[in-house]
Subunit: 350 residues, 2 copies
C-alpha cells in the first residue's frame, strides 16, 4: 500500500481543513468538501490507510483525524515544490507600508526591531529577528579625542557597521599633538586586523612606542576586544510573543510558561538561529515542524525561518513561530518578500 493520487488528495484536504478549523476532521466533512465524489465510507477506508502510513493521527478512538508531524512535513514539502506562490492580496498597500517602515529607520538595530513588530502584527504569530552574524570582524578605524579636560573618548569602528564608544577618565589631559600621535600609532598598527591577529608581541611594541601613555592603550585594547565581540555576537529581537496565546492548542497553562519564557528571555533562541544558518537551502527558507527543532519548549510549534544577507558576508535570520497548524503558504510568502526587501535595502544602502 502506498500513497496513490487519491490518498494524496485526501491527505491534502484533511490538512488544509485542519489548518482552517483547528478541529479534528471527520470522513463526512471530506466526502462533502473534496471534489472527488466518494462516500464517507470509502474515505474512512482511505483514512485508515493514511493513518497506518503515519500521515495522520486519531487523538482518540472515534474522533476525526489530525495531521501528524509527518503529514505536515509532506504538505510543506509539496507546497515548497510548487514553483511559485501567487498570493497577491493587497500587495500594494503592504508594499508601501513596508517602504515607510524602512525609510524611517536609519540605525539597523532600530529597523530590525521594527521589522519584528510589523511582522508580528501582520501575521498574528510570534516573530524573531536576529542581527547579521559576521564570522570574523576586522578593526576598521580608531580615534581618540578629549571630550573635556578629564575625559577621553575612544571611538572604535568594526566591520562595516558597528561603532563602539568608550569613555574613560584620565588624570591629566593630553595635548592635541599627543592625541594625534596616539591615533596614528593605533591606526597604523591595528587597522584591518582581526582579534586573533592582535597578539601580545604587537601590543608590547605599541606600548613601548606609546611611552608614558601605555595605560591608555590598555584600556583601548580591552575596548577593542569588546567591540569586536559585540560585532560578532548576534542580537535577537522578538515580538508578538503573546500572539501564541491566541491558539488554544498552545495555551495550556503548563506549557505556556516555558513557551513564553523561551520567547521573551531569548537566550535559548540563539540555538535556533545557529541551526538555521547552518542548514540553508531553497531560497533560505526553512520549515521546522514540531520536534524538528532543537528546543523542547517549542515542540508543539512550527517555526519558519528565512535568512537575509549583508554584502560584506554577514547573514541574519528572520523567523516566525506559531502553532503547527499555521498558515504556511502565507508565512512562506511573507518571509520571501521580506527578506528580498531586506537584501535590497542593505545592498542599496552600503
Amino acid at each position: 500500500m502506498s500513497l496513490d493520487e487519491r490518498k494524496m488528495k485526501i491527505l491534502k484536504t484533511i490538512i488544509s481543513t485542519y489548518l482552517e478549523t483547528g478541529e479534528p476532521v471527520g470522513s463526512r466533512t471530506i466526502a462533502k468538501d473534496s471534489d472527488l465524489h466518494l462516500s464517507s465510507a470509502t474515505i474512512r477506508n482511505e483514512m485508515a490507510d493514511l493513518e497506518e502510513l503515519g500521515y495522520i493521527i486519531q487523538p482518540h478512538t472515534s474522533s476525526g483525524r489530525i495531521p501528524s508531524d509527518l503529514g505536515y512535513r509532506y504538505y510543506v514539502n509539496q507546497m515548497m515544490e510548487e514553483h511559485d506562490i501567487e498570493i497577491r492580496e493587497k500587495e500594494e498597500e503592504i508594499e508601501t507600508e513596508r517602504q515607510m517602515m524602512f525609510q524611517k529607520m536609519d540605525r539597523m538595530e532600530e529597523m530590525l526591531k521594527s521589522v519584528a513588530d510589523v511582522l508580528a502584527n501582520d501575521t498574528n504569530y510570534a516573530t524573531l529577528v536576529s542581527t547579521p552574524h559576521i564570522r570574523e570582524s576586522k578593526l576598521k578605524f580608531i580615534q581618540l579625542s578629549m571630550v573635556d579636560h578629564c575625559r577621553m573618548l575612544a571611538v572604535i569602528v568594526v566591520g562595516n557597521e558597528t561603532v563602539k564608544n568608550l569613555l574613560m577618565n584620565v588624570e591629566d589631559p593630553l595635548s592635541n599633538e599627543e592625541i594625534l600621535k596616539l591615533n596614528i600609532l593605533l591606526n597604523s598598527f591595528l587597522q584591518g586586523l582581526t582579534l586573533n591577529e592582535i597578539n601580545l608581541e604587537l601590543m608590547h611594541t605599541m606600548k613601548v612606542q606609546a611611552g608614558m601613555h601605555a595605560t591608555i592603550l590598555e584600556t583601548v585594547f580591552s575596548g577593542i576586544v569588546e567591540a569586536i565581540h559585540e560585532a560578532n555576537d548576534l542580537e535577537i529581537y522578538t515580538s508578538g510573543a503573546t500572539n501564541i496565546l491566541k491558539y488554544p492548542e498552545l495555551a495550556n497553562p503548563s506549557q505556556t510558561t516555558a513557551l513564553l519564557d523561551t520567547l521573551v528571555e531569548k537566550k535559548q533562541l540563539v540555538k535556533l538561529v545557529d541551526e538555521t544558518v547552518s542548514d540553508q537551502e531553497k531560497h533560505g527558507i526553512q520549515v521546522y515542524i514540531g520536534s524538528e527543532n532543537q528546543l523542547p519548549s517549542l515542540k508543539d510549534c512550527s517555526i519558519v525561518t528565512a535568512t537575509y544577507d549583508l554584502e560584506e558576508g554577514g547573514t541574519g535570520t528572520v523567523g516566525i513561530i506559531g502553532p503547527k497548524r499555521m498558515d504556511y503558504r502565507k508565512v512562506v510568502h511573507t518571509l520571501k518578500n521580506l527578506t528580498a526587501d531586506l537584501d535590497e535595502i542593505f545592498n542599496k544602502k552600503s
Copy 2:
C-alpha cells in the same frame, strides 16, 4: 463605629494570612491564629464591621474575606511607618552577588538590564527598570572624521553618558584640514547648547561659514536632534514577565494576554514611570495597589517602584509588578537596598 485597636489587629491578621495563602480567610482561622482570645462568633461580628468600613470584601456570600484595595492600602501605609524593616536573611550572600553583578558591567545599559534580570529572579515577580530620565540634555562634543575614503563618521556626545554615532557617505573625501575646520566650527558654535537653543538663524550662520560643506552640516544637525532625543527618551527594560503566571488570580486567560502584552511590549509602561517620577516621597518608594495605577491592564496587580539618582540630575526608576497580595515587606526592603546600591555606584563611578 471606627477602627479601634482590636479591629486593626484583626484586619492585619486577615491581610497577612491572605498574603501567605491567597485563599479567603474565615473567622475560625483568625480565632485560632491571632493572639487575642476570642471566639469565631466575635470575630465574625468584627469582620462584618470591617466589611462595612470597606477594608475587606466577601467574594461571595459564605466565603471568607479578602482585603479590599483600601485594606491593602491601610496595611502598606502602616508598614511604611514602622521606622525600619529589618529583614536580614542571607544579607551577605546577596550583597556579594550584587557586587558581582555590578562589577562585570561597564555600560549602564547592560547593567540595568541585568538588574532587572536579577531582581526578577530574586523576587519571582515581574520587574521593570528604566534608564535615567534627564530633563534637558546639552550637547557636549562633536567630532567628524573620515573612516575610509568615502565614508565619514560623526560622533556626538550628549549630556554625560550618551554617545551617538552617525555614519554617512560622502561623494568626495574631505582633507584633514577641512575636517579640522568643520570640527572647530561645530564645537565652537554648538557646545553646551540644548535643542531649543539651536535655532534656524544659528544654523544659517554656520552653513554660510561652512561654504561648500553645508550639506554635511544638514546631516549632522539631524543627527544631533536624534542624539538629544535619544538621551532624553527613557528606555525601559523588563524581566520575568512570565512570573505573573505563577499567581493563579492573575493567570486567568482573558486578562493574562493584555497583562503580558503591557509587560513585554513596554510602550505603555512609560506612563507608569512618568507617574512615579512625578510623585515621589518617602525614600522614593511608591506603592500602587490595584487600580491606583494608570494602566487598566494592571488593575489586578500591585506595583512598587523606587527611584535612583544620577548626580547630574537624572532620575531612573526600578519597579516590581506582582499580584496585589505580594510580599510588600520583602519587596520594599529589596528595592530600598537596591536603589541605595545604584546611587552609590553611579556616584562613585562618575
